[in-house]
Point group: D4
Chain length 149, copies 8
């Protein structure tokens, strides 16, 4: 069994690197959105032409990014969505809803302070973790049947 | 043509009432989540038994609410999701993603301050409005071909 | 919102009657398998001709019953599956798995003694109840937003 | 033609090993749930944190195991479900129903004593066998057209 | 429960009338292909213009008939396919395969002489009957739980 | 059998009225896009706010119109697409492709001059007609089995 | 582009060998049912135990063969169904209907005498050929754009 | 991430070659319809036999070409559709609609003169470009996160 895992959500810490490093020995392939914030914001106008209106500037970028995001989620067996401490992160919650409707196995990753605000998102998940290391342990267990420690 | 419309998101203002009143003469049926905040938080433990742990208290409630939410979205032709000025509102963004993956026509309703943070959500929508009256005008146009004014 | 509810599983107590009676004032339609045990066992041979071999006797009946069961589950929004204290009840667990794969909202109804043996089934449910009255309360809450008491 | 086969159900005898050994020369890939009973029961709390309440202890484990089970069944062409002589084995019947709703080819494996209790499950199958060797013979025939003996 | 039943296949005897009459008191709606043989053969050219080539004459008619056939099968819960004693009746077997792939409950109706030639078709069915009266009895049982006699 | 028919394409002649009038006695419900050209072009900016850029002016309108178009096609059993003598009519061909991928029964309506240019579109259809009266005759035949004349 | 082609139908001539040989240089993979008539008839009882009743003898075999047939059709891009001059060949027409409902590209192969009897089957096809060499030419054209000769 | 890209539409300029050359270093596989105009028009009659009637000549060819087109679109992650300056190009718009209904990511490529006529098609796209080089830049960005320049 090979697991295809999509890593969605917060882009300001190295949680994706931690999971990739921790799972390096496992039969997993990872995918994720573009995590270069500036490129992600500007890709639409940089490629398809500038917009005077900020709304359409954002819109063109969001549409181009959707090519990658939809493909990544559609191909995944497991979608991990991390919520950080800052910002609204509505795109993360959107991805979680999108993945849930497609029947993907969801793992939600967040600190305890967000538990109440994320209760509907967590309720759609098969696991709710606080640390990237726990995601690695889940992937290891799912693939090998081995528990940590 | 009868449109089935699900009204998701913010529950602290009367936007749903405005839309229902404005669309009273149209061939539309509306549905929405339970908007009684306290009932929505406590439904799980009130019916299925108390939990000492707040996480499971929330979880049981979120699961029971999902029976209604999933049915409402699955049956809808159009899903309107409103984002207000306060709170994380991750369940609103989750519903938008869920509806999008099911191919529903999305209308997103929010003030201009949220435009950048909602750009991925707006990019999945067929209309982005600021006022409930605009949603009524869209429903009227879609059903009758008549423009406002 | 009208809820279509399919009542699957245990056929030796009056739990279905309790739920129907309790939900009489709600916008719910109920369906269920044939609950006449003898008719259910013999329908295949009674209609399509006798079989000397007990396996095929059972098989013909199970196939005819599947016409009703599949239709009932496919049409339902909510599938309630009750596990009683006796017998293997593998058809009940089969129905739960079938309904789960179709994305139906599952409510599982069983006493506390079965909790460990049903943990995979419960994990696929949106609510796990012990008493028929709780199912009624869930239906009432989902449809009206009103909590019991 | 390569067949992907998922081996679900009873975990107390070596039937999976018999099938894998018997089919070693065939173009088949096998998958199965975690069959280490203790790890399977405790995986949730071992990774995601302990629970005082046994129900949630079980629940967290069942959810983590579902990541593997759903993937295994979704990817399979053929799902073999074995029912042993002991225990309720409701998860086995749940898997059979889940696989059936997804249109998988089902092979059910059980002794003659269970025939009546499993009649609805057997009715959803393309083959009902008593011995692991028969499953091997089916796989050989399906892939090569050769009958045993 | 209302059953939608599509009656496909042989058009030279009154089996459809027998089933409709027998099921007159049941909550069933029936549909069927156009059973006027001449109209069915000529509908394409009669409406859309003549063809010198018999193949295209037939083709245009078969396409127009498919509008009705596809709709009838797609809307049905149960598809009954009758094979008579004469002709190739490949359209009947085609309808059975089409309905089977859509997950419809199939009832196959034929005399004992055709059993071997229809074994693959019968294997996809939930019931194999010889007489129209048996189909009525199945519908009665499925809807009411009552056995004949 | 009730047929739901969506009338897509050319909006400059009264072909829709001819079909509705001709089919007035049949069990058919009709739907169509907004056929008021000016309203259709301007609905986006009239409701959601003006755009300086013509591209976004058009885009907002096209998105709002898509709410109606998608619903109309998704609900239809039969999609009729008429191509007139003028303009590119790419939206008509788009609707035909969209309907085809959803498995709808397509009827294409056009004059003989367009036959070569529409060959791929016609190849996806169950009927290719030249006159609205032929569409009426098809609907009559499909619903009643009666040929014209 | 690699085409996966399933070769269904008549098993008494070497048409499959002709197509495989003719397409040897193309990027095609072929699959087909078991074409050993005796093995195909007896596989059920040979593996799963004898039946006194011929109907169940046939039934068990047809079910085991369905494991291969369903997989072969489900995996295919193109399904070729050949009708020979003898026998009812209802399983061939069933496969054609099954493949059609799954949206597979159908090629039907038969002599001119069967054209009228196969008109509904042909109407579901993208090509109707008389000779295996024509199927090879279609595959060559589809993959390379080269016409024969 | 490997992207499968289908290049549909205009066949009179070398835009496909430009995109393939520009994306040579990227993890992309490309597919496209047969672009030899004469072969594409005549494939049906060249392989399956001549037709006196031009309509059926065209029809047979369009059907054979559909084997390739449907496979190409069904397998793609991204469908690029280019509209040139000449001809009706209804097959291009049909492909866009077909791909849209299947949920493919659409990129539409056309000059500014066609913007109004293509507004419904553009509204279904995630990107609207004018030059093949922009498509290359989109593919590069989606796969690597790198912006041009």
């Amino acid at each position: 069994m090979t697991l295809k895992v999509y890593l969605s959500g917060e882009i300001h810490t190295d949680w994706r690197d931690q999971i990739r490093a921790g799972a390096a020995a496992l039969d997993v392939t990872f995918d994720n959105p573009v995590t270069d914030h500036a490129a992600s914001d500007d890709c639409g106008v940089a490629i398809l032409g500038g917009e005077g209106n900020k709304y359409w500037h954002d819109h063109k970028g969001a549409m181009v990014n959707a090519i990658r995001t939809r493909k990544g989620i559609a191909d995944a067996d497991v979608v991990v969505v991390r919520f950080g401490d800052q910002y609204k992160q509505w795109n993360a919650a959107f991805d979680a809803g999108y993945a849930s409707a497609l029947g993907k196995s969801l793992i939600i990753l967040h600190g305890p302070d967000h538990a109440h605000a994320l209760k509907e998102v967590d309720a759609a998940a098969l696991a709710v973790a606080q640390e990237p290391a726990q995601v690695v342990e889940i992937l290891q267990y799912v693939l090998t049947g081995k528990l940590p420690g």
